[in-house]
């Protein structure tokens, strides 16, 4: 017999799960949040990668969704951010602060302004359910947002229409002359994507980053501070959070979800089940083919979820001797460097010279023992390496350290521990098949009304009482909570 339980069961205590659960609890629902990991926070949860050293999967953010931050009152729970500058490493490093380079590169400032303007008028779309191609649109809101876009003026409106589906490389090369800044645009656009900067439809990914937040932020106290603040807010709202509770099945009765089963064998009943897990995993593995219609089952298997990012974490004796190490550091010297780092990944191979986003969290939040940590997102890494995972991981680590050492010469002797997670490792640890940050790749064919699939774009599924609220839903992942909040809003009418 299932134990009598909550009205609402939310699966997955990442930022989206926490945001969604909190909002529902605030509206009076009795919410249980189930999470497979030992601690809540998902991509922001601390994990020991070497004895005495912890890290989080996400190491930086562009900010929590404003509605989530306000609705969960995260500031009250101690969450604060520090805006980072970005330094492009190389023979002549460039530091970028709030869209301006130290040298006041006029081309860059102009391009950045334009993209920021585009991002500003597109940002509101992140905070509403994706517009549909059929019925059910809030036409008033859409008309308002449409007018906002048109208010850019004729020239800029036309440019936006042209650039919306263009590739980041052409924009960088058309509008900038400095190769380092071109590389930066190329890197930024493809960060977390499974695409090189010459692929069409990549500029919009950069616009999405900018719409999430204009700057890259480091939470005070590290990324786990986000997890802690959101957890406290959830608990304060009355959410029951259960850790080490891996859901293995969503129980259905006919076309209605009635509860979940845990790996322990325990069954929980719920009137509403919200999954923040990968939508394909949710439908194909947790609901299963006997309940879903064959077409949806097949299409859920077609959701692209290729992770292209490896994650490097180093424990260091001390900080290396380089400038700007409190900044976000990028090693992506040109457009071609980024493109060439992507090419082999298409064939399941490892790039010789990967491109990197490096951060020293302990430069802002020192450890009591004076030791340090380096975290890096390494691109690109194959999601299904042809040479097998272990060999690929070793090769990736070797190539990554070589690139790092070329820019930080005294790094190698400082290394106490190192860990490199390939996309498959990320998938195994965090439960997102493919290891993509956004669960379902953030790509135009999986955006808005197509995210994660055309008939799942409104957070609702064909299974009565089962909802999606994770990074695989609009507007995607990142440590923002936006998808979870949107889903909660969508569910409010229904509960």
């Amino acid at each position: 017999m299932p134990t009598p339980s909550s009205e609402v069961i939310v699966i997955g205590a990442g930022p989206n799960g926490l945001a969604c659960a909190t909002r529902l609890a605030q509206k009076g629902a009795k919410v249980t949040l189930l999470d497979a990991l030992p601690m809540p926070g998902g991509g922001a949860t601390p994990r020991e990668f070497a004895p005495g050293f912890t890290t989080t999967l996400a190491h930086l953010t562009r900010g929590i969704d404003a509605r989530v931050a306000k609705g969960m009152d995260l500031e009250r729970y101690g969450l604060g951010f520090q805006t980072l500058q970005t330094t492009l490493l190389g023979p002549n490093p460039v530091t970028i602060s709030r869209g301006k380079t130290a040298s006041q590169d006029a081309d860059f400032a102009r391009l950045h302004d334009r993209l920021t303007q585009f991002a500003r008028v597109l940002a509101p779309f992140r905070a509403i359910p994706a517009p549909t191609l059929g019925k059910g649109n809030d036409w008033l809101t859409l008309a308002r947002l449409g007018l906002g876009i048109r208010a850019l003026g004729k020239t800029e409106f036309r440019e936006l229409l042209r650039m919306l589906l263009t590739n980041a490389a052409d924009v960088a090369e058309d509008d900038l002359t400095d190769q380092r800044l071109q590389g930066y645009i190329a890197f930024e656009a493809t960060l977390g994507a499974w695409a090189g900067p010459r692929s069409p439809n990549t500029l919009i990914l950069l616009l999405n980053h900018l719409a999430t937040g204009p700057d890259v932020l480091a939470p005070k106290g590290g990324m786990q501070a986000v997890a802690q603040a959101m957890t406290k807010a959830a608990e304060a709202a009355g959410v029951t959070i259960r850790q080490n509770a891996r859901v293995t099945r969503i129980v259905t009765n006919g076309d209605t979800a009635t509860g979940v089963e845990l790996a322990s064998g325990e069954a929980l009943a719920g009137k509403t089940i919200v999954s923040t897990l990968h939508p394909g995993l949710t439908l194909r593995d947790l609901v299963g083919p006997r309940v879903l219609d064959a077409g949806l089952y097949t299409r859920a298997g077609h959701i692209h979820s290729r992770g292209g990012t490896a994650r490097l974490t180093l424990a260091l004796k001390s900080l290396p001797n380089i400038d700007n190490l409190e900044n976000r550091l990028i090693i992506a010297p040109s457009v071609n460097a980024v493109e060439n780092a992507f090419n082999p990944v298409k064939y399941g191979q490892i790039p010789d010279v990967p491109v990197l986003e490096v951060f020293f969290p302990t430069s802002l939040d020192p450890r009591p023992d004076g030791l340090h940590i380096l975290t890096a997102n390494v691109q690109f890494a194959p999601h299904m390496p042809v040479d097998g995972l272990d060999q690929a991981r070793a090769q990736m680590l070797e190539n990554t350290l070589r690139v790092l050492a070329a820019h930080i010469p005294d790094l190698r002797p400082l290394i106490l521990h190192c860990e490199l997670l390939m996309p498959q490792d990320v998938a195994a640890l965090y439960g997102n098949p493919g290891g993509n940050w956004h669960h379902a790749e953030l790509a135009v064919e999986q955006m808005l009304f197509l995210r994660p699939l055309r008939d799942l774009s409104q957070y609702r599924t064909p299974i009565e009482g089962l909802w999606l609220a994770g990074a695989g839903s609009h507007p995607g992942g990142g440590i923002t909570g936006a998808a979870g909040w949107n889903a909660a809003l969508a569910m409010e009418g229904a509960l």
Partner: protein
């Protein structure tokens, strides 16, 4: 009567470039009563749709080599069959595999299906579904080919009406179909085919149409749309079919020229235009290289946008913003061509004797990954070391082009960049490309090289120098979404009108883009006639076919 020739204004319309689009526009304008002159820089007519004798007794289709996209509405309006045009569908095709096998293609859907089953039973099943889905996307696009794209930034009634029309077309689809279509347009052909098929060679074959002429790889998002661009043609109403123009591709422009002359128009060859004359913000004619001035009430450029506005018009006559946009218009060439005279038919060892497959497109790229690696070479500034070739032997079907028993073989090669590692192509690079391609063919057809009588190699360098296509881009501009519809060639100027009064565009750089389609020429003529308040004399676009 409008547009009576004034004293020093001999022509109503002067068209620069006797390619197929220029001729199509000229024909419609002449038929509407305008006095029309087409000027052509070369000593032959046809632009990139030509038949030329480059080796004694052999007719080469040395640029474009197959036909499907040419709009049937235009054929009918301009009476092209009467003027000698005949399209012969091909009878097959094959992809040869590295392991010595092949995938055959046939004219008949069911025959294809059986052949697919030889490689994968699942894929044979999927082929029906795939064909149905792609046909549906084609049917949606086809009516848009012969319409001027609306300007979404404009509040003119005409643009709003056109947007509403577009909305109506979309409204006619179910929500599911709309979503599937948007998805199809924006994804890569590789991802799209993965949803239907498992066999690498089948996917390799079907991906071909998504890369031809394009500076995209099969794994680039947006490549699925390019497939559509090649699928929406037809041969005698058989949508998606391709064929040869009897007598070579020049037969199309030959028929157009005959139709133009019948309507009273003129063509002057060996008349390269040095400058488009602009007086008081209005195009008034052209100056030829030899200094001769020809006056006309309007000038219509069939050259690509870069050649027209950056090389033939004085920049001071154009808004700076427009010039900047033209510079951003992407025209990177991606292909080369080998035109080969053969002493005898090549024998492909994998094919059964007498197989009809040789009477169509022959490929040696048996997987998407190989194609994509070829694209990686292009991106790094080199031609593909393992190139994709689309080989045709039109003389298998049309023996009129060569002496009895001999053959002409056309090999379209991808990828070939506009520059080699940032430098102009040299003759050595060209020969290197030729040898790479010939060796590839030799591998599958031993003895092939011994049958070769003559080879013409055309890299992007030759295409630019001879046909005038900037950077050798065969579509006069890449076919990506940032350069389609209302963005083609430049946002705000996608309605065939340029910023200069009475200077128009009618080439493939305008909507709906390249291929021997004629649609840009016809659409431009429609706009010009509307502007001149003359009746169009055009048949309606077929809604469906």
């Amino acid at each position: 009567m409008p547009d009576l020739p004034k004293r020093d204004q001999k022509y109503d319309a002067l068209i620069i470039g006797a390619g197929h689009n220029g001729l199509v526009a000229a024909c419609y304008l002449a038929k509407a009563g305008m006095k029309v002159l087409v000027v052509e820089k070369n000593d032959w007519i046809g632009g990139a749709a030509v038949s030329r004798e480059l080796y004694p007794g052999f007719t080469y289709s040395n640029c474009s080599y197959v036909s499907s996209l040419f709009r049937p509405e235009i054929m009918r309006d301009l009476d092209l069959p009467k003027h000698g045009l005949q399209i012969l569908p091909y009878e097959g095709g094959a992809v040869f595999t590295e392991t010595g096998g092949y995938l055959g293609m046939f004219r008949d859907h069911d025959a294809n299906r059986r052949e697919f089953a030889r490689h994968s039973a699942r894929d044979a099943e999927a082929y029906d579904l795939y064909s149905r889905d792609v046909q549906r996307y084609c049917r949606f696009i086809r009516p848009m080919l012969l319409r001027t794209p609306p300007d979404p930034s404009s509040f003119r009634p005409r643009d709003i009406m056109e947007l509403l029309w577009l909305g109506k077309q979309i409204g006619a689809l179910s929500e599911q179909q709309r979503a599937e279509m948007v998805r199809f347009w924006t994804m890569s052909i590789s991802d799209f085919l993965d949803e239907y098929f498992e066999s690498p060679v089948i996917k390799g074959y079907l991906a071909v149409s998504a890369i031809i002429g394009t500076a995209l790889g099969p794994m680039s998002p947006g490549s699925a749309y390019v497939l559509l661009h090649h699928y929406m043609g037809d041969v005698d109403g058989n949508v998606g079919a391709w064929g040869f123009a009897r007598g070579g591709m020049g037969s199309i422009t030959k028929a157009l020229t005959a139709s133009l002359r019948a309507a009273g128009g003129e063509v002057r060859t060996m008349s390269p235009v040095a400058e488009i004359l602009v007086r008081g913000g209005k195009a008034v004619g052209v100056v030829l290289d030899n200094g001769e001035e020809i006056r006309a009430a309007r000038v219509i450029s069939n050259m690509d946008a870069k050649r027209t506005f950056l090389k033939t018009v004085n920049e001071a006559d154009l808004p700076a913003e427009f010039v900047a946009s033209v510079r951003k218009f992407k025209t990177r060439g991606s292909s080369a061509k080998l035109n080969i005279a053969l002493d005898a038919a090549p024998v492909f060892t994998a094919l059964p004797e007498g197989a009809a497959n040789i009477k169509g497109d022959l490929h040696f790229t048996d997987s998407i990954a190989r194609m994509e690696r070829g694209y990686d070479d292009w991106k790094s500034g080199h031609f593909s070391r393992d190139p994709f070739q689309d080989c045709m032997i039109p003389t298998m079907i049309d023996p009129t082009m060569v002496p009895t028993g001999k053959h002409f073989m056309s090999c379209f090669v991808q990828y070939a960049p506009p520059k080699i590692a940032g430098n102009d192509w040299t003759d050595a690079d060209r020969d290197d490309l030729r040898d790479t391609c010939m060796n590839q063919i030799e591998t599958y057809a031993p003895g092939f090289k011994n049958k070769v009588l003559h080879v013409e190699v055309r890299t992007p360098r030759e295409l630019e120098a001879e046909v005038g296509l900037t950077e050798g881009n065969i579509f006069q501009g890449e076919l990506t979404f940032d350069q389609l519809l209302f963005n083609r060639p430049v946002p705000g100027y996608a309605q065939y009108k340029s910023p200069i009064k009475d200077l128009w565009m009618c080439g493939s750089a305008t909507h709906p883009g390249g291929g021997v389609m004629g649609a840009p020429g016809r659409n431009a003529a429609a706009e010009i006639l509307l502007d001149a308040k003359l009746p169009g004399g055009m048949s309606d676009a077929y809604a469906v076919l």
